[in-house]
């Protein structure tokens, strides 16, 4: 009976993975390599690829910078209202992406938002693409960093303080070096999330060719005018990039 139990679970898992393999395989073989190459070398797609790689990297870096202190706080500190803060940090994860874009758009119409726009214009700009990617990606990076700090013992930090460190120094010299693979994993998760972010980017930054067009926008623009080959070619590029990130995270040994 025990054997039947494990075989059943294995079949469910195999069925799910097979479904995914079939989907990815059919996408990959939908068009010829030469056609894919031609699409990827077109001026618009090269621009969208470069913009995606740049904005994802900036959003991921900003996410890690924010996720390290917040992840540490939520992992190590006990304070009143902690569970409320914990739930609030997950809001971007559960909110529909389009709604996040709409919230950004409305915020930058307020007096405070307008004041920010006077210094750095965000709405319908490249900076807006980064911000739209960042607000979602940061939530995933925070969740990852919290898990990283949960798994790191706090005792070495205590010892560092008895050796003469302030709390800042102990975290800087002892905890952060131990968390560096976790930071890479958090950055990779944020990068991958940013790469696939479509709704908030579309609503807040728009879908202007050669301006705010990122790879998911390219897929949508191609699909909306019936150029399925172009959409498939960009999708294959995004699948390859996502796979590379997944392998990178696995190589760090972190689970996200």
């Amino acid at each position: 009976m025990n054997r039947v139990f494990w075989i059943t679970l294995s079949l469910i898992c195999a069925g799910y993975l097979l479904f995914w393999a079939l989907m990815l395989g059919s996408t990959a073989t939908f068009t010829s390599p030469a056609d894919i190459w031609n699409v990827l070398l077109s001026r618009e797609i090269r621009y969208a690829t470069a913009l995606s790689l740049t904005t994802c990297t900036l959003a991921a870096l900003a996410s890690v910078v924010l996720a390290v202190p917040i992840g540490y706080l939520m992992s190590r500190a006990r304070f009143p209202g902690r569970s409320v803060v914990d739930a609030a940090l997950d809001i971007p994860i559960v909110l529909p992406p389009m709604v996040v874009g709409l919230c950004l758009l409305i915020f930058f119409q307020t007096r405070f938002g307008n004041a920010i726009e006077q210094v750095i214009p965000f709405t319908y700009t490249v900076a807006g693409v980064v911000l739209a990617q960042f607000v979602i990606a940061a939530a995933f990076a925070i969740r990852t960093m919290r898990g990283v700090f949960d798994h790191l013992p706090s005792r070495p930090e205590d010892v560092a303080m008895t050796l003469g460190c302030t709390r800042w120094q102990a975290v800087w010299h002892v905890t952060l070096p131990a968390a560096r693979r976790g930071m890479f994993a958090a950055g990779s998760v944020a990068w991958a999330r940013s790469l696939g972010e479509f709704g908030p980017v579309l609503v807040f930054a728009g879908a202007t060719r050669m301006k705010t067009e990122v790879l998911p926008t390219s897929v949508w623009l191609a699909w909306s005018v019936g150029e399925l080959e172009q959409g498939v070619a960009v999708s294959i590029l995004m699948i390859a990039l996502s796979m590379a990130v997944l392998i990178g995270i696995r190589l760090t040994g972190e689970r996200v």
């Binding site: 013992p153 005792r155 070495p156 205590d158 010892v159 560092a160 303080m161 008895t162 050796l163 003469g164 460190c165 302030t166 120094q169 010299h173 002892v174 070096p177 131990a178 560096r180």
Partner: protein, 218 residues
């Protein structure tokens, strides 16, 4: 000297009440008690990692009750050594001196001397991951001694070691305490460690610490 005067501390479902004891200068205090009796919490209070609700902590001649851990002049050796996972043994031992911005040549001399004393000179370039339990504790002891503390606090430093390693480390602890003129508080379950090391024996039970009279030590 380690002197605690009426130290009280509370956590949900647990309290330390009016704890007072003295370990004289250059004495070796051994604190015994059951699991969950508050031994580790008490060590953390002395380290400055937990703040007592009331009472005073005097280390040497100085009231350190309100001082942060980095200003207490203590050495701390936790149960598993708590080595810094990214540093090799040389950097671990020199860490406290580097934080104090001491001269690199002086740091190097101190590290070499402590490593020789702890018989870990051959491990200086190794990371903690490959070290045995006994080696880790020797490194943790050298690291704690590097900053020349007046007081050494050890939380079950030998509990995870085999009997042979325990014996060699008990000898090392005796030599270290005498050689470095430190006042020690050593937390343990082991009567054997207490018999071999204690000049002052303390018992913690139900949130209170009692000093075991010398007549009962033998």
């Amino acid at each position: 000297m380690i002197r605690l005067e009426n130290i009280s501390w509370k956590a949900p479902g647990f309290a330390l009440e009016e704890i007072s004891f003295v370990v004289p200068a250059n004495g070796y205090g051994v604190l015994m008690g059951r699991t969950g009796s508050g031994k580790t919490s008490l060590v953390e209070i002395i380290c400055g990692l937990r703040r007592p609700a009331s009472g005073r902590i005097i280390l040497g001649e100085r009231d350190v009750t309100r001082d942060p851990p980095n200003l207490r002049g203590i050495g701390y050796v936790p149960q598993d050594g708590a080595l810094f996972s990214t540093m090799n043994v040389r950097d671990q031992i020199g860490f406290g001196l580097r934080i104090r911005r001491e001269d690199p040549a002086a740091i190097s001399r101190t590290v070499d001397a402590l490593a020789a004393e702890m018989s870990i000179s051959h491990l200086l370039d190794r990371k903690p991951a490959g070290l045995s339990g006994g080696e880790k504790q020797r490194v943790a002891l050298a690291r704690a001694l590097s900053v020349k503390p007046a007081v050494l606090l050890m939380d079950e430093p030998l509990s995870s070691l085999d009997e042979e390693t325990q014996t060699s480390l008990i000898d090392l602890l005796q030599r270290t305490q005498k050689g470095h003129h430190v006042t020690v508080l050593h937390v343990t379950h082991s009567r054997r460690e207490a018999d071999a090391l204690a000049t002052v024996r303390l018992q913690i039970d139900q949130g209170k610490v009692t000093t075991v009279p010398a007549a009962r030590l033998s």
